[in-house]
């Protein structure tokens, strides 16, 4: 059963977290990794363990924004034969599990599917929005129209190298939240979340009222707490994917996923505000 899009997008999720004085935890997993059903099982475990929003990644042959971990997972998913239909099936499963689903997707698969058609099918599957790492607002006319028509959220990225003018332009085009990439680089868990992130978030705050999500590099609860101290959402990808990638069997993978998500969920509930001012 597919659920209709509420048209509210991620708004209610952020509003609720704000009243609770905590950050939103967004957990990422490629669709179809290692199989469509296996990926769905991982996502269910993530939701049960405390992820607020699931970011499903559309596996793509040429993922230039992704580091080795997500590249590897995407390759496995593609080799196992995941297709657009499997991605949409995964979105449905997230909605059934009771969490809002956003899709992180390179633009090639969406253009090929047809932007308006994809928006309709994605909304019908219960998805709430797209994160588009290689689409800038200036190239997004079709998507702006299709997302307006379907009420989907649209999340563009800003980076430490973005000018004030580009931050404003990008924020204007976003709905749901805006994605601040904390480092100049690709996805991948890092020992230290970049020092550039708080400064970037402060610059984005001056340009918009939108919630701000920070991603690229978060790998544990302490880092999640630090990021939740200045951002509205903490986005975790590679560290979660690695749980599955490194596990000897699916059960072990699921157990380590649950453990990591619990740690991260505790982290976003203990935003470390003082630490940020000091840093």
């Amino acid at each position: 059963m597919s659920l209709p899009a509420t048209g509210l997008g991620l708004g209610p999720t952020f509003a609720k977290a704000r009243t609770q004085g905590r950050g939103v935890l967004i957990g990422c997993m490629p669709a179809g990794f290692p199989t469509v059903e296996g990926g769905i099982a991982s996502i269910r475990a993530m939701v049960e363990a405390g992820v607020d929003v699931v970011e499903v990644e559309f596996p793509y042959s040429d993922p230039v924004m992704d580091g080795p971990v997500i590249q590897r997972a995407s390759e496995i998913a593609l080799a196992a034969g995941v297709r657009s239909a499997g991605v949409l099936r995964t979105i449905e499963a997230v909605a059934e599990a009771g969490a809002p689903a956003v899709l992180m997707t390179y633009w090639a698969p969406i253009e090929r599917y047809g932007v308006a058609r994809f928006a309709r099918d994605f909304a019908a599957a219960g998805g709430v929005g797209l994160i588009t790492p290689d689409l800038i607002p200036e190239e997004a006319d079709d998507w702006l129209a299709a997302s307006d028509e379907t009420g989907l959220d649209r999340v563009f990225l800003v980076a430490p190298s973005s000018t004030e003018q580009r931050i404003a332009l990008t924020a204007d085009a976003c709905r749901g939240f805006i994605y601040a990439t904390s480092v100049m680089g690709v996805t991948g868990a890092r020992d230290k979340v970049s020092g550039a992130a708080p400064e970037l978030v402060a610059r984005v705050r001056r340009a918009t009222q939108l919630p701000i999500g920070v991603g690229l590099g978060v790998r544990d609860g302490a880092q999640a707490a630090a990021v939740a101290g200045y951002a509205d959402a903490v986005i975790v990808g590679s560290a979660l994917v690695r749980c599955v990638l490194d596990a000897p069997d699916p059960a072990a993978g699921e157990a380590s996923l649950r453990a990591l998500v619990s740690d991260l969920a505790a982290g976003v509930r203990a935003p470390a505000r003082a630490q940020v001012r000091a840093g």
Partner: protein, 407 residues
């Protein structure tokens, strides 16, 4: 048509589009660097001192302008007058040196001292390492793992020139994956690093900038043909990989409506077999490596691997200006199979004593086809984009002159 042609000189538009093609499909993190590059390139193009410095380098270092050669023995065989633009005589053996010297000067103007490049067979990697040595830059070349094995000699060449070659083990382990890895490096090190893209593709301003650096091919040839023949050629032929030598040859002729522009893509085993690299002839419109153009992709938008005997044409995409020239009808694109290209390769060796790059042999095979259509009075200009030294192994094996073990 006339209206379109008058616009050609002005394309791309300020946001990097050729009609519906081109643009920037890259992470936001790279936009500032692309803007910086665009500004540096536009200032440079308008700066006489830059132009003079580039012209001096091209002349004294690379042997450019290249010769136009009246290939009379080949012409007899093909049945039309064939004029060869001898880019094979340039330093490093191909048209690619024009692009890397131009980009090296721009890199210097931007105050960057590290360059990265992607390479398939190693041609562009060698050219980039050459320019880096000349300018004293650090140079890192990304090359598919598969290709580093197939092209060990070129790996050694790049290393001799002081370059670092990084084998790429992800995806299909070939050129497109090398380009992905170069883009990842660039996102990470963009403050210190310039990405020297090797063809007229990628995000704006690369297609325009690489075209402008390659444009001398056509500007020189147009004047050389006029002087030699007293009129414009009937057709201009070039091979099309990413499209730099072809757009370089075509661009100056775009307003000359009577001159046919014909690009020859790698048809591999034949377009019908699915094993080819004919993005325009047999692909669809989509997004790859930062630009919207024709490419080989499956119905889910995943890039499909290309196939060609010629490493330099073995790429599943093509520059956006060619997509636009195709859609407007100003240029035509046709596939040439491995077998047709190798027959033309052999013919040029035997009639003229010139061993062409296998890439360029695709243009020769295309010219042979055109000669039949246009007849003996026709004048056909062919870009001989590179020399065949790098291809002696491949061709030696193809013709049975070298065994697997010897090659």
């Amino acid at each position: 048509m006339t209206e379109l042609l008058s616009v050609a000189g002005l394309l791309p538009d300020p946001t990097g589009h050729f009609g519906r093609f081109g643009g920037r499909f890259v992470p936001e993190a790279l936009i500032a660097a692309l803007d910086e590059l665009d500004s540096a390139y536009r200032h440079a193009m308008a700066d006489e001192a830059f132009q003079a410095e580039l012209a001096r380098l091209l002349r004294d270092y690379a042997g450019i302008p290249s010769l136009l050669y009246d290939a009379t023995r080949l012409s007899e065989q093909l049945g039309a007058r064939i004029l060869l633009k001898r880019e094979d005589l340039n330093h490093t053996g191909a048209h690619k040196v024009r692009n890397v010297l131009g980009q090296a000067l721009i890199t210097q103007r931007m105050g960057k001292r590290r360059v990265i490049a992607e390479t398939g067979a190693g041609q562009h990697g060698v050219a980039a390492a050459t320019a880096a040595a000349l300018f004293g830059f650090e140079c890192v070349v990304y090359m598919g793992e598969e290709d580093t094995r197939r092209q060990a000699l070129n790996v050694a060449r790049m290393q001799m020139l002081g370059g670092t070659v990084v084998p790429v083990g992800t995806g299909s382990r070939t050129l497109k994956d090398a380009m992905n890895e170069a883009l990842r490096d660039w996102v990470t090190n963009v403050e210190t690093t310039h990405y020297m893209i090797g063809t007229a593709a990628g995000p704006h301003p690369f297609p325009a900038m690489v075209r402008d650096f390659a444009r001398g091919i056509g500007v020189e040839a147009r004047a050389q043909v006029l002087e030699l023949v007293g009129r414009l050629p009937d057709a201009v032929c070039a091979c099309v990989g990413g499209g730099s030598n072809a757009i370089g040859a075509f661009h100056a002729f775009i307003p000359d409506e009577q001159v046919r522009l014909v690009g020859f893509e790698a048809g591999g085993d034949g377009v019908a077999t699915g094993r080819h690299a004919a993005s325009i002839s047999a692909g669809g419109v989509g997004v790859l490596h930062g630009t919207r153009s024709y490419l080989l992709q499956d119905e889910d938008g995943q890039t499909v691997e290309s196939h060609s005997i010629s490493a330099g044409l073995d790429y599943p995409g093509v520059g956006p200006e060619h997509a636009w020239l195709h859609d407007t009808g100003r240029a035509r694109y046709e596939p040439v199979t491995d077998a047709e290209a190798m027959a033309a390769f052999q013919l040029l060796c035997r009639t003229e004593g010139i061993i062409p790059a296998i890439e360029s042999a695709h243009a020769l095979a295309g010219a042979a086809r055109l000669a039949k259509q246009l007849g003996p009075d026709a004048v056909i200009l062919v870009t001989l984009s590179g020399r065949g030294d790098k291809d002696v192994e491949t061709a030696g094996r193809y013709f049975g002159l070298l065994t697997e073990a010897e090659a």
